[in-house]
C-alpha cells in the first residue's frame, strides 16, 4: 500500500472509531494568546473528525488580554484560572481533570494543526497498542516571518527531525496521550515547572520510564505561530538549560530526549572546547600565535562542529540565511553553556527547583482551595 493510502486508511479508521462516541479531549492551555487563539481553535474545530467525538477544553492560565472570551467562541469548556500564571503544566493538568475522553490531546495556544493531524495521531494510538503517547513535530516554516523566529523554529525543528521516532520526546506543541497512561505516570509535573520550559520532555521521559511507548512523528508537523525576538530566544535558552541542569540531569535527558534544543546547542560545543583547549595547551610548546589567528581557529572550530546545523539552514533557507544565523547561533550556544553551568551550581547549592514557601506550606497542610495548590508528583 502506498504511504498516502496508508495515511488515508489510518485517519479513516480513526474517524470510524471516533464516530462511536467521545474519544478525544483536546486541551489547549493559553496565556495571553488572544492574537493566535482564534486561528488555533478554528484549526482544531476544522479537524477531520466527527464533532461529537471530541471536546475542546481551553484552560486560561490567568490571561489579562481577554483570551477566555475568545476561547468561548470555539470551546466546549473554558477554565479560568485566577491569580498569577501557574504555567502550562499546571493548566494542562486542570484541563485533564475535566476531560471525558479516553485520549487526551494537548495543543498549545500558539500552535496550528492541520485537519488530518488529530485523526492521524489518533490512528497511531489505535493501531499500535504498544504506543501510549505520540506527538507531532514542528513545521519548518514558522508562523512569524521575522529572522529570529525563523532561526529558532528551524533550530527546534532540526533537533526533532534528527531524533524523531522512538524517544522520550513528547513535543509540547501538539501531542496525544492515552488518559490511563498519563494518569498512571502522575500527570505533568506542576510542582517544578511553573513556567513553560521542559515539562513535556520530562513527562515523555517519565512515561518511557514507566514502560509506556512514546514517539515523536516526523511525518506529522504543526505550525508554531509564536513570534520570537533576540531577547526572548536568549531567555528561553537560558531557562531551558538551567532547568535541565538543575532539575532533570543532563546525561539522563540526553539519552532520553536527544532532540531537545539544549543538546543541539551544547553537544557541538564540547568538541569545539576540546579543540580550543588543545590549542591553548599547544602554546606551552610552540610560540603563541597572533590573536587574530587564535580567533580564526576558534571560529573555524565552532563552524566545523556546527556544520550539520549550518547545512540544514542552507538547505532550508539558503546560504545567506545560514551565514547570518551563524553568529546568532554561536551567541545562543554560549548562553546555553553558561546557563547549564549556572544550573549545576544552583543544584549543588540550593537543590532542586521548588515553589515558593507559601505554596509549599499550603501543600503541606493539604489546603483545599481553588485554583488548587500545585501538586507534588
Amino acid at each position: 500500500m502506498k504511504t498516502g493510502d496508508a495515511q488515508h486508511s489510518q485517519s479513516g479508521s480513526a474517524r470510524e472509531t471516533a464516530s462511536h462516541g467521545l474519544l478525544l479531549s483536546v486541551i489547549v492551555s493559553t496565556l495571553n494568546s488572544r492574537g493566535t487563539l482564534p486561528q488555533v481553535l478554528a484549526a482544531i474545530r476544522g479537524s477531520d473528525l466527527p464533532r461529537k467525538s471530541y471536546e475542546i477544553i481551553v484552560v486560561d492560565d490567568a490571561s489579562i488580554d481577554g483570551s477566555a472570551a475568545i476561547a468561548a467562541r470555539y470551546a466546549d469548556t473554558v477554565v479560568k484560572l485566577t491569580g498569577h500564571s501557574a504555567g502550562p503544566a499546571y493548566a494542562r493538568n486542570r484541563g485533564v481533570e475535566l476531560a471525558r475522553g479516553d485520549v487526551i490531546a494537548f495543543v498549545d495556544g500558539d500552535v496550528v494543526i492541520r485537519p488530518d493531524t488529530l485523526p492521524r495521531l489518533l490512528a497511531i494510538l489505535l493501531e499500535r497498542p504498544d504506543i501510549d503517547a505520540v506527538s507531532a513535530s514542528r513545521n519548518e516554516s514558522a508562523g512569524a516571518p521575522n529572522f529570529v523566529s525563523q532561526y529558532w523554529n528551524l533550530l527546534l525543528s532540526f533537533g526533532e527531525q534528527r531524533h524523531s521516532g522512538r524517544c522520550a520526546q513528547f513535543a509540547p506543541g501538539c501531542g496525544v496521550v492515552r488518559r490511563a497512561a498519563f494518569l498512571s505516570a502522575g500527570m505533568y509535573d506542576e510542582w517544578r515547572f511553573d513556567t513553560a520550559s521542559m515539562e513535556s520532555v520530562e513527562l515523555g521521559e517519565r512515561l518511557l520510564g514507566a514502560g509506556h511507548g512514546v514517539i515523536l512523528s516526523s511525518e506529522l508537523t504543526v505550525t508554531h505561530l509564536k513570534q520570537w525576538d533576540f531577547r526572548s530566544v536568549c531567555r528561553e535558552v537560558w531557562h531551558r538549560s538551567r532547568v535541565l541542569a538543575r532539575s532533570l540531569g543532563y546525561l539522563r535527558m540526553s539519552a532520553a530526549a536527544p532532540g531537545e534544543v539544549v543538546f543541539t546547542l551544547c553537544r557541538t560545543l564540547i568538541p569545539a572546547v576540546a579543540i580550543l583547549g588543545t590549542l591553548l595547551l599547544a602554546t606551552a610548546f610552540v610560540p603563541a600565535p597572533h590573536p587574530s589567528a587564535k580567533f580564526g581557529v576558534a571560529l573555524a572550530a565552532l563552524l566545523l562542529t556546527n556544520l550539520p546545523v549550518h547545512i540544514f539552514y542552507t538547505n532550508t533557507r539558503g546560504f545567506w540565511f545560514a551565514t547570518l544565523s551563524a553568529p546568532l547561533h554561536v551567541f545562543v550556544q554560549i548562553v546555553a553553556a553558561i546557563a547549564l553551568c549556572t544550573g549545576w551550581v544552583l543544584r549543588d547549592v540550593f537543590g532542586d527547583v521548588s515553589p515558593d514557601a507559601t505554596t509549599q506550606a499550603y501543600s503541606e497542610v493539604g489546603l483545599e482551595i481553588w485554583p488548587p495548590v500545585p501538586r507534588r508528583l
Binding site: R73, Y74, V79, K80, P371
Partner: protein
C-alpha cells in the same frame, strides 16, 4: 428596573429573570466588558479563597430556535452540585418557549442580544457575563 445606560438595559423584573439587552451586537460586545452591566446575580461572587471552583453553564440559543429544556437538564444532572451552577441562556432576539427551562433551572439568567447576533458572538457575550471558574458552553438546541 435599573437603567444602566442609553444603549443597554438591565432588567430584574418583569420579566422575572435577570436580563441584559443591547441594541446592536457590537454594542453588546462593548458594554459586556463594562462591569456596570453585570447582573446582581453575577456580582454576588464569593470573596476570598474558595474551596471549590464556581461553575457556569452557558446555553447558546440561536435566533428562531427553541431551547431544549431536556438537553440542559440532562447536562446539569451530570454535575455533582447542579443547584450551585449558574445557568445563562444567551439568545439572539427575543426567546420563545423558555418557560420549560425556567421551570427546571432554579436561577436562570437570560442574556438578550440583538437579533442576528451570531452563535460565536453570543458565546463571547455570555462568557463575559459568566462568573464561573469553569464555564461549559452548550448549544441550546438538539444537534
Amino acid at each position: 428596573m435599573f437603567h444602566a445606560g442609553v444603549d443597554a438595559v438591565l432588567f430584574q423584573d418583569p420579566p422575572t429573570f435577570p436580563t441584559v439587552t443591547t441594541s446592536t451586537a457590537s454594542e453588546a460586545l462593548r458594554v459586556m466588558r463594562d462591569d456596570r452591566f453585570i447582573t446582581t446575580a453575577t456580582t454576588a461572587q464569593h470573596r476570598g479563597p474558595r474551596r471549590t471552583p464556581r461553575k457556569s453553564l452557558i446555553v447558546v440559543l440561536p435566533e428562531n430556535h427553541v431551547v431544549s429544556a431536556d438537553l440542559v437538564a440532562e447536562r446539569l444532572s451530570g454535575e455533582r452540585d447542579s443547584d450551585q451552577i449558574d445557568v445563562i441562556l444567551a439568545c439572539a432576539g427575543q426567546p420563545s418557549s423558555i418557560a420549560a427551562l425556567q421551570g427546571r433551572v432554579r436561577a436562570l439568567q437570560v442574556l438578550l442580544a440583538p437579533a442576528g447576533t451570531s452563535g460565536e458572538d453570543l458565546r463571547e457575550l455570555a462568557m463575559n457575563q459568566a462568573p464561573g471558574d469553569i464555564v461549559t458552553l452548550l448549544s441550546g438546541t438538539p444537534a
